[in-house]
Structures are given as C-alpha cells and as structure tokens.
Symmetry: C2
Subunit: 297 residues, 2 copies
C-alpha cells in the first residue's frame, strides 16, 4: 500500500478561493481503532543520567525512538497519511488549531484516511538523552560538550513562519490566526536537531532513504508552498531546492510536482498553513490531489 | 460538574480476580468531538535561547503551559476523567500498552466519560526552557547553574515501578507485561521536576489547591495502590502518607478511602497498573467506584 507523508519542515508539502469554505458542525466521528506506538529506539548506557541523589547516575535508557499516534476510520480506507511537524514543534502542529478549529489529524480521518501523527525524535513524547548535561554538571565533561539545544523565540519565529518580515509586522493579507498567537507559542518546544546523529533518526524511522532516485520512479509527490516565499531569504532557496528535487525525481521516472498556492490564486498562506484560516480548504486540495494521483494499492 | 482526577505519581489512584477478563474486539468507537489544548503558560524573555547562529539567542518563549488531549463520547456522559502520569513519563502512560492492548484513555471514553490526558509541564509536548543550558554553554553562567534534569535508567526504574526489588528480578506473581519491556522504556523521558518553581505549575494547571481541607468536604476520593507496597522503602511511606491524607480529608467532612488491591484479593499489580495484564479489570473497578460515589452534577 502506498502511504502519503506530509512534512512541514524543509519542503512544506494545497486551498480554494479567498474566504474559507463555511464548515458546519461535522457531527460525531466513528473510528475503527486508534492508539499509539514507537518506531525505532536504541539502548544507551550512561553514567550521567542524573545528578540528584534520588535517581541513579548510572544505568540504561532508550532514545532515538519516534512516538506515533494514529486513528483508523471505518468504511473504505484511502491511503494512510503521516503528518510530520517541523522545527521546534511537536505533533500538536496538526491537532486543534490555536484558535480552536479542527486539525488536519482529524480532518483526514473524517475523509477516510488512516492518519499517523509523529513527534520527531528527541522532541515531545520522543525521549531526549540528558547525559551530556549531567556530564558537565558533575564535572566529568567540559562546558563545550553541552548540547546545542535551542528554542525559537516568538520574535525570530515570526519570519521563519512568514507571518511578517519582522515581529510584529504582518505580511499583507496574511491568513494565520494571529489573534490566537499566544496559544500557538505554547506549541513550541526546545529542539535538539543539531545534537542528533546523521542521518537524523527520524528519517530511518519514517523510511529507508538514500541518494538513489530509483525509488521515486512512479511515486506521486506533491511539494506544497504557501505565499510570500520569494520575499524571505530563508524560504526562496528552499523552494528552489524543492524544484530541483522534483526535476531530479521526474528525470528518474517520478511523478512529482511543486504547487505554490499563489500560482493557483490562493494568497496569504504562511509556513503554518495547516493552521491558517483556510486550513481545511488546503486540506481539501490535498485530498483532491491524493484522490487523483495516489493509488490505494 | 464534578471531575475525576486519576494521578499516577505520589499517591497512585482499584481489579477483579486472578486472570484478566477476556476482552473481545470492542468494535468501532464513536466520539462526539476530540482535540487538544494547553492550560496555563507564561512568557519568558531570555538572552540564551540558542548558541547556534541560525537561531537568535535573544527573544521570548512561552513555558509552564500543560498540554491536554481529550475525547468526548456520544450519548449520556458520565463525569469527565483526567489522567495524570508520573515521574519520567508523559501522557503516553495511558495510551496503548507496551504489549499493544487498549489504554485507559480510550477505555473510559468507551464507557461514557470524557477523558483528558495531560503531559505534565516541562515534559513531552509541554515545553521546557533551554535557557540555563545555553547560559552555561555560552559562558554567561557557572556550571552549577545547569538544570538538574534527569532520566531514570531501566535498572533504577525497575524497583520504582515495583517490577522487582532489583533489576531484572521479578516480584512473585507480578503482572506487568515484562516481555514488552523494551516498548515501555521508550515511553520514558527526561524529567525536570527538580528545576520547577513551587508549586509545580502542573498543580495550578489542574486546580487551585491550598493546605485548606475545606474543599474536600463531601468530595469523593479513592486512593488506589497495587501490590508489594510494604516491601519497598520508596512506597511504604507513601501509602502511610496517603492514609493520613484520607483521614484528614474525612475529618474535614470528606468521603475519601484507600484501596490496596491485595486487600480485596487482587494480587500482583505494580505501580504501572494501568499497563498491567489486568489493566482493564482495574479500570472496571474504578468505573464501578465512580458510578457509586461520584455524582455527575
């Protein structure tokens, strides 16, 4: 069975017209089953798990596993969808929006797709390893051995998410629900990306990738971008990279495409388009694309 | 409306006979609505959010908020239930068990209770603050200012969870699914409890408690313990403390009780009784107790 991966990181992964389609109360949701599990993980022996007397410094912990929560709808199933959040966030990205609207995690289930939401390794419910911190705290390692864990501040994240060029300015016609920004900031967590081995264990937990383009032969891929991309030095090169990837995949027999929303007349979407005020219209475009391009078997 | 809080920390919060009742496929589940949100949170300005050039060192982040995921069943609703995990874990505690059985999070929804699962502050999807780590890493603070974040190793956690007195020995008749222990270890995350302000922000996020016993007047409280408590120096004093709390609450007009499972003939349960092989039988005892003692209005 083919599966669809929607990733919100380097290449964000389509919306209707200016105003979001009215969304009446969808009523109850019936699911066949739900649950959560981990993929991957390895045991690490450490002598610096703790500097507190109540917890042993030495022992074994398990890290690099990836948390996954899923729901499977009843009825005829479409292809399964995996939702992958980006920097400094967790699977919460895809759940209820900051202003209280339905997240894509539930919307896709309501449209017949089993949906899997992950927390990238070392973030959220996917455990990090505190050994390096405790090694320094206990004098067993030098300060420069501390992890490069970081948080993105509201001010810096503003441009990363393309809400505006500088905090708190807004891009013209921008569709993120900024009135609820305080709730959005609560979704952000420290990120240990720079500490992780290569490849980032999230990647093998999702697939077994190489530089070989052969697996892309015949594989439907949609790379979706919102608005304002060319106005942000962080994003313009990424769109260019994604266009190059799509060309390489298609040269290898792939069926890849890039969709930049303003090119089909949908303006105002940010990097966090799964939370923008037209988020479910964008989900509808994705569902339509999946229906036309991805075979269930 | 009264709500029921089930906490797995200092005082764990009832099981049938020796073997778990057979559990046929429960079939589809219909829910009225679901989603997630945060409670609490405060903005913190910091100059040490990052030591990486790609992310600004200075800015504002939001911490101390508590992540909550919920499902509301259809039909006549019982009292809502909040599930609170303990040390070194997240809300995953209450979801699918390590050996793949239904978690209490879904079981209570299937029995008519809206169910709320939290991640305690600074853990899982509830953001921590990396500022202290980066302050030391950048030379702005001394090493002793590093946080006392710790992980519980498998070996030390063994006795904490009462699987056995020493890793990897087993208590006689112990009911935790140890064949799936590798999946359990993946649930454990670093814990920042020792760094948190007093009161731990999880507490006001759940209620507004004081030492005043007046609010306990008329309040139904069940403190549930599993087996082997008196054989563990960590746990025997906690049971004694819980008995003292129950006596104080009842002296103030409360309706509190302690249930130690072996006292009603149910043996072999660990601290992680929501994952033991008779976990749903224990849930049934709780549902029966709630039905008899807690009014919905």
């Amino acid at each position: 069975m083919r599966a669809v991966l929607l990733a919100a990181s380097l290449c964000s992964i389509a919306v209707s017209a200016a105003a979001q389609t009215p969304r009446p109360d969808p009523g109850p949701l019936t699911i066949a089953r739900q649950g959560s599990f981990f993929i991957g993980g390895r045991d690490v022996k450490s002598d610096t798990l703790s500097t507190l007397p109540a917890y042993a410094a030495s022992g074994t912990i398990t890290v690099d596993q990836m948390y996954v929560r899923y729901q499977v709808p009843v009825g005829v199933l479409g292809v399964p969808i995996t939702l992958i959040h980006g920097c400094c966030l967790t699977g919460k990205t895809w759940e209820t929006t900051p202003d209280g609207r339905m997240g894509w995690d539930e919307y896709f289930v309501r449209h017949g797709h089993s949906t899997y939401v992950i927390d990238q390794v070392w973030r959220g419910r996917s455990a990090a390893d505190p050994s390096a911190i405790n090694a320094v705290r206990s004098g067993k390692a030098a300060v420069d051995q501390l992890p490069t864990v970081f948080s993105a501040g509201h001010e810096g994240a503003w441009a990363i998410f393309r809400f505006g060029k500088e905090y708190p300015q807004l891009m013209p016609g921008m569709r993120y629900p900024v009135a609820a920004q305080a709730e959005f900031w609560k979704q952000m967590v420290p990120d240990s990306l720079a500490n992780l081995p290569t490849p980032n264990p999230t990647v093998p937990a999702l697939s077994e990738p190489t530089d070989d383009m052969t697996p892309y032969a015949g594989l439907p891929i949609l790379v979706l971008f919102g608005d304002y991309v060319d106005e942000f030095p962080r994003w313009a090169p990424r769109l260019a990279n994604c266009r190059a990837f799509v060309a390489a995949a298609n040269a290898a027999g792939g069926k890849a495409e890039v969709l930049v929303l303003p090119d089909i007349g949908i303006k105002g979407n940010t990097h966090m388009l799964m939370q923008d005020d037209n988020s479910l219209d964008i989900a509808d475009i994705l569902l339509d694309w999946i229906g036309k391009h991805v075979n269930a078997m």
